[in-house]
Subunit: 260 residues, 2 copies
């Protein structure tokens, strides 16, 4: 392992649970000798990637990271990061593929791609907020959300969008438990009577769910084989998108999206 | 210069103007040999600090930076970063010191500290948005804002807050030109008939103005000596706060806040 990698990997030890790390804790975590660790810490600090608390002398993530993230986000907004991935997945799966981000209690579309290679296609409205309880994207998000947030969403009167929309909180919770188990949400004609879709969550920098990626097809093309193909492509998509937006998949859930 | 520093400094070459950098450009920028540059680039890329465009092979800032910034912001919100600096400056200057961030066409208070060591004190309302044209913070922001933004702000009917509030766009522009020159905004009784304040801008990750830090005093304590002391402490404060929030002071303006 190169020196640069050794130093950069030290940054990965920080988390909400571990906001500050002292020298001796770093020695333990890296299992390297104190002189080496100190040298690496000094260089990271000199470049603003770490800073040191004046009182405890413990290290924490420094301002250079915020500065570079500001530059990075100005150059490549999230939309630009997901665009090439979504375009590629849409091409592979041959169907409308889209990413939406959680915004309050709905999903806000970020980017979509439709290859239009069939006789009919899903009519996708880029400007429309998507309800959580009636879409595969929304159910994928809810299945990995904080239970208090789920209760809040389900406690409102839930609007039916088609005659197949599930609006009973108990039934929805049972379905969310299944989605949480498998990592894959599937909604048949729940948002639109002619559309079926599959969705998986995407995660942010602390492993929290921040949105979903889905494939929507005219229900007329629905088949078990198609569903399995969609699921496989979405597993690939969610891993690549989560990485591209600077997120991490919580390790305890990661196996749900690993290809067999 | 250590290996880690050499690698981390390569990240600083990226900006809005230079979103992607190819291998040969990196060789030119760093003035190091190609083999060394390639080795550093490979390690930065392996750790997600850089990524490579699939078509051009040019490098750009990678997702690890967004991820770490997310962790960093979750651990230390901006408010927590400025708190120790503002507390210290308020103690040194012996007067109410506060930071506010630009939000639309007003300033939103982020943090303040008042040491209350005098017979009278400024009544500071933490919840109140501050107008740009009538406060030293706001004028410090406008003086370093895009001219189109300034025109927009000055084109509305400007509200007088005291009988000393300047509301004439021409007069305000003349004052902004002066503040732009000196880096220091001074407002005597313009927002409140009993308060005088001095303010300086703070800058974000692309060198854009994002807010201001100010000291406000009861006008009764006003003196030339006091003003000079406030100005000196604010020059120190704006440099420390800009760094703490991941910003950079545009090099062409930096001399305005350097202590003599």
């Amino acid at each position: 392992m190169g020196t640069i990698t050794k130093a950069l990997e030290m940054l990965n030890f920080f988390s909400r649970q571990r906001p500050e790390i002292g020298l001796s804790e770093f020695v333990k975590l890296t299992q390297r000798d104190k002189a080496t660790v100190l040298r690496h810490l000094a260089e990271l600090k000199d470049n603003g990637f770490l800073e040191q608390a004046t009182d405890t002398k413990a290290y924490r993530l420094g301002p250079a990271i915020l500065r570079l993230a500001g530059v990075s986000e100005a150059i490549y907004p999230l939309r630009d990061r997901v665009r090439p991935i979504i375009n590629e997945i849409a091409q592979q799966v041959g169907e409308l593929t889209h990413v939406a981000l959680l915004q309050g209690e709905a999903l806000s579309p970020l980017f979509y791609s439709d290859v239009k290679m069939h006789g009919t296609q899903v009519n996708y409205n880029e400007g429309e907020l998507l309800p959580l309880h009636a879409t595969s994207s929304g159910m994928a998000v809810l299945a990995f959300s904080d239970p208090a947030f789920v209760d809040k969403v389900l406690s409102h009167g839930l609007k039916p969008f088609s005659n197949r929309t599930m609006t009973d909180p108990g039934q929805l919770k049972a379905q969310l438990a299944q989605i949480h188990e498998t990592g894959f949400a599937y909604q048949e004609k729940a948002f639109d009577g002619e559309v079926t879709s599959g969705g998986v969550p995407i995660f942010g920098s602390s492993g929290q769910v921040i949105g979903a990626v889905s494939v929507a097809i005219p229900s007329i093309r629905q088949s078990e084989e198609k569903t399995q193909a969609i699921r496989a492509h979405l597993c690939d998509a969610m891993q690549r998108i989560t990485t591209a937006v600077g997120g991490i998949i919580p390790p305890e859930h990661a196996h749900k999206w690993q290809q067999p």
